[in-house]
């Protein structure tokens, strides 16, 4: 048992935790960070990054497949494309390894002490850490809980060989012939689309009336169309009931039961905070349902204990956790910081991608704000045409009285990269006139943003 002391102890080495530790160390704070699996957390090891790697591989393969099927309008043909899936996974794992190694390197460079082990609170100021070869008792002035989240398991579909979570879905030994996905949220759709492109026969089972229920119908329409194009079956208002001998037993809205044939069943019905482990319940912190309740400075109900990231609630997004981590580090360093972000952009890497930032027209309406909106379809965008990516649009929502932009949404291939422009516009307090007055490079999809703003002002040029 080794006794350590530090000013800041971070529990969890995901995007929130490691950013917090790096920033704190940069500021000269004696910092220790503890991670029980791999640095980078869900995002780097089993989430954002590996899923995007798989999606990219699937895109490439799907393109070749379509060329081989003689569907290309570009005059490109291919023959018998094939995929060495284990090699694909090895490539993906290589990226993950590089990034997790990179995180450890960054922590070291900044001067934070990184320990691999499992942390348990002894009290609010003391944490025991058990690692493979050593154990520590760490006394810390400040502790940041950044334990993240994990996939929700359905009691009637326990995770195992056949029933898998998103982590399992990113490490399958081979491409399943038939894949059933329970839950039509963004994780299920991203992975489902990828496997459909890789040749799986994919069925999505969603209990609600439609998939991606957090988005409005206009935004999900292009996604639904591409799902259909890739042969994905979408069953809405259908409940998963349990494991059948050769698939998934479901109950449709009319009460009839059916079995969806599937080799694997991916359950993506949500994620829950990891707030039950690490002795967190013993601290008796104020909770918000299963989440740790925090204030605008990420302080919990116990002095000196902060919480950041997925364990603190929605939206469970890596970039939210990172911003919180950075903020907490600066608060611990004595800075005056408070969460004052205007918007947290969210990207759904489906086919095509969906980006949302700020308020949708419905959300603005629900808040009794009079808004004007402008929308520009990619069918009228030159760059989109040249990339065979005409599906989708950019939409801008602005306050009617002063034209301050309140929200921006887009759906279309490659629009994820537009999220930066959207978030910047919102954080800077841009008005429609600011976007309309900014030169957007031609030919790019970003012109859609300009045109949407012009459209809201009533004078779009290219439509």
């Amino acid at each position: 048992m080794e006794n350590l002391t530090c000013k800041l102890l971070v529990i969890g080495g995901g995007p929130g935790g490691y950013v917090c530790a790096i920033r704190a160390a940069q500021l000269g704070i004696e910092t220790i960070i503890v991670e029980e699996r791999a640095y980078g957390g869900t995002c780097l090891t089993v989430g954002c990054i590996p899923s995007k790697a798989l999606i990219h591989a699937a895109d490439e393969f799907a393109r070749l497949t379509s060329y081989a099927e003689g569907k290309s309008a570009l005059g490109i043909s291919a023959k018998n494309p094939s995929m060495d899936f284990p090699k694909t996974l090895a490539w993906k794992d290589g990226i993950v390894d590089r990034l997790t190694g990179g995180v450890k390197g960054l922590l070291k460079k900044a001067g934070a002490k990184a320990i691999e082990g499992t942390a348990t609170f002894i009290d609010g100021k003391t944490v025991r850490v058990e690692s493979n070869d050593a154990s520590y008792e760490i006394a810390a002035e400040n502790v940041v809980i950044a334990t993240g989240s994990e996939p929700v398991e359905l009691p009637f579909l326990p995770f195992g060989d056949t029933v898998i979570d998103s982590t399992g879905a990113l490490a399958l030994p081979k491409i399943p012939e038939r894949l059933a996905i329970v839950g039509g949220g963004y994780i299920g759709l991203e992975i489902g689309t990828a496997y459909a492109k890789l040749g799986s026969d994919v069925t999505i089972v969603e209990a609600e009336k439609r998939i991606l229920p957090q988005y409005d119908v206009a935004l999900t329409k292009p996604v639904l169309k591409s799902l259909a194009d890739f042969g994905v079956t979408v069953m809405t208002e259908t409940k998963a009931k349990g494991l059948a001998s050769k698939g998934l037993e479901v109950e449709k809205s009319d009460g009839s039961a059916e079995v969806v044939a599937a080799e694997r069943i991916l359950v993506t019905v949500g994620r829950r905070p990891r707030s039950k482990g690490a002795g967190i319940p013993d601290l008796d912190l104020t909770m918000d349902r299963n989440f740790i309740a925090i204030d605008s400075q990420c302080r919990t109900s116990m002095r000196g204990i902060y919480a950041i990231g997925d364990v603190t609630g929605e939206p469970m997004l890596a970039h939210r956790a990172m911003a919180q981590g950075e903020m907490v580090a600066e608060i611990v360093a004595g800075g005056k910081r408070e969460w004052d972000k205007v918007a947290i952009p969210a990207v759904c890497f489906t086919e095509p991608e969906i980006v949302t930032c700020g308020l949708s027209p419905e959300e603005a309406k629900a808040r009794d704000i009079d808004v004007i909106t402008g929308q520009f379809p990619f069918t009228a965008n030159g760059r989109a045409m040249t990339m065979e990516s005409e599906a989708g649009f950019v939409r801008v929502v602005a306050r009617e009285k002063d034209h301050v932009i309140l929200g921006i949404q887009a759906v279309g291939r490659g629009v994820a990269e537009l999220s930066a422009a959207f978030a910047l516009a919102l954080e800077m307090g841009a008005r429609l006139e600011d976007i309309a007055g900014t030169i957007h490079a031609h030919p790019t999809q970003s012109e859609g943003f300009l045109e949407a703003a012009l459209s809201a002002l009533g004078h779009a040029l290219h439509i």
Binding site: K336, R337, D340, D402, V404, M428, G429
Partner: protein
């Protein structure tokens, strides 16, 4: 191109130096002839210095607060050769024709511009000149709850570091967006209280205010008065019931055509009467020369609060004035002092002073003598008080006078006699009008 040097003109009565209080121009500005270059302060008044040429400002003599010698280089202006030659000619003319009048000229002929200078003066004293052009207004309508102030992340962070609640800051940008410049202006301005939100005031950062101009004069004068003069202060209770009755009656009859009487003209009259018997109190004491100059005339200084601070305009030859003339003169002088239009001679030469805080008059004060005078009479608040008349408590209007005297030249006895005299005159107002 030629360079013309504008020198600091003789702005006072034979003074050797003046304090620069504000620049109206900055280096690089294009200016026209007669444009104001800056404002300097003498002992008595702020004087604007105009330019004699048109051209471009290339050099300024110093920073506000600096003391500049009369005749020293004030501003350098780059101008065309013809303009420079013409200017030289004009200056030569001026010097030969009207050397004595020249100092008066800017102040009188440019009266409207003086107004402007007055308005700018407070801003110059409290904020950086380069930011004073940006309005640092507080938001007039509070933000609806939930409405965020519109500002970039960098502005928001700066505000947080400075402890400023952005919801209180008005943005000058479109849709009320708050810029760095808005924040600069907000930080530079003196903070006022919050907007009745029930929250404590936003945390203030420390601020150093340079003591310049009028405030510097006041500080200097007060130091001299308080450090050189050993004060003796006497507080006496005056029953003004009868005086108030008389005043009400006179006002009821004559206020319309002659103007309203306050208690001050009566007090001036009482002082005139009292010092007629005690000329040693209506005097100035030149302590360096060791001479007490007893004044024949009674020039009563009336301490007056102005936007720039305390000034003491003077009712000259008060002993020759009727009650209403005195009242009118006090009103006129107070107006002139407040608007900055009081002439130099109206602000100097008093032989005895009155200080009154009006309704804020308190029970007693310790007035500071207006050096080199030897006496000052302070008026305190009037209130209805129960007074024992031998049989009963009766309601009487009671007002205290707090008067200070230069104890070097006025003994306590003489001071007490003077105060007693004032009390007698005011309590029996008929005595004010009888030459006994």
């Amino acid at each position: 191109m030629a360079k013309v040097t504008i020198k600091l003109p003789d702005v006072g009565e034979g003074i050797a130096e003046a304090e620069l209080t504000e620049w109206a121009v900055k280096v690089g500005d294009e200016i026209q002839e007669d444009d104001v270059l800056g404002t300097v302060m003498t002992d008595k008044a702020a004087v604007e210095v105009p330019s004699s040429v048109s051209g471009k400002v290339v050099w300024l003599a110093g920073e506000p607060g600096d003391t500049l010698a009369i005749g020293s280089k004030f501003v350098e202006i780059e101008t065309s050769d013809e303009e420079a030659a013409a200017a030289e000619e004009r200056m030569a003319e001026k010097e030969s024709e009207e050397p004595a009048e020249s100092p008066e000229k800017p102040a009188e002929s440019e009266e409207p511009k003086l107004d402007k200078a007055e308005k700018h003066a407070p801003a110059a004293a409290s904020s950086k000149p380069e930011t004073s052009s940006v309005p640092a207004k507080p938001r007039t309508t509070p933000l609806a709850s939930g409405d965020r102030p519109l500002a970039s992340p960098a502005v928001r962070q700066r505000a947080r570091d400075a402890g400023i609640d952005l919801r209180l800051v008005a943005g000058s940008g479109p849709a009320g967006r708050i810029s760095h410049a808005d924040l600069d202006a907000w930080i530079a301005q003196p903070q006022t209280a919050g907007f009745g939100s029930g929250r404590p005031n936003v945390q203030r950062s420390d601020e150093d205010v340079k003591v310049i101009g009028m405030r510097k004069r006041i500080a200097e004068k007060m130091s001299i008065s308080a450090s050189r003069i050993p004060h003796i202060t006497i507080v006496e209770e005056i029953d003004v019931t009868d005086l108030e009755a008389l005043r009400e009656k006179l006002n009821a009859q004559h206020a319309k055509e002659r103007g309203k009487l306050t208690i001050l003209p009566f007090l001036v009259r009482a002082i005139c009467k009292a010092v007629a018997e005690q000329p040693g109190l209506n005097a100035t004491f030149d302590d360096e020369a060791g001479v007490i100059h007893q004044s024949g005339a009674v020039h009563v200084g009336i301490a007056t609060q102005t936007p720039n601070g305390l000034t003491v305009p003077v009712v000259r030859n008060a002993e020759t004035m009727s009650l209403w003339d005195t009242a009118g003169e006090i009103v006129r002088l107070a107006e002139a002092a407040r608007s900055g239009k009081a002439k130099r001679e109206e602000l100097s030469g008093s032989t005895i002073s009155i200080t009154s805080l009006g309704p804020l008059g308190a029970i007693a004060t310790t007035p500071i003598i207006n050096h080199p005078e030897v006496a000052i009479v302070g008026v305190n608040k009037m209130a209805m008080r129960p007074v024992w008349d031998g049989q009963d408590f009766v309601p009487r209007k009671i007002m205290n006078l707090s008067s200070s005297f230069d104890h070097r030249v006025i003994d306590g006895w003489d001071a007490a006699v003077f105060v007693r005299k004032l009390k007698d005159l005011i309590e029996t107002p008929a005595l004010l009008f009888i030459d006994a």
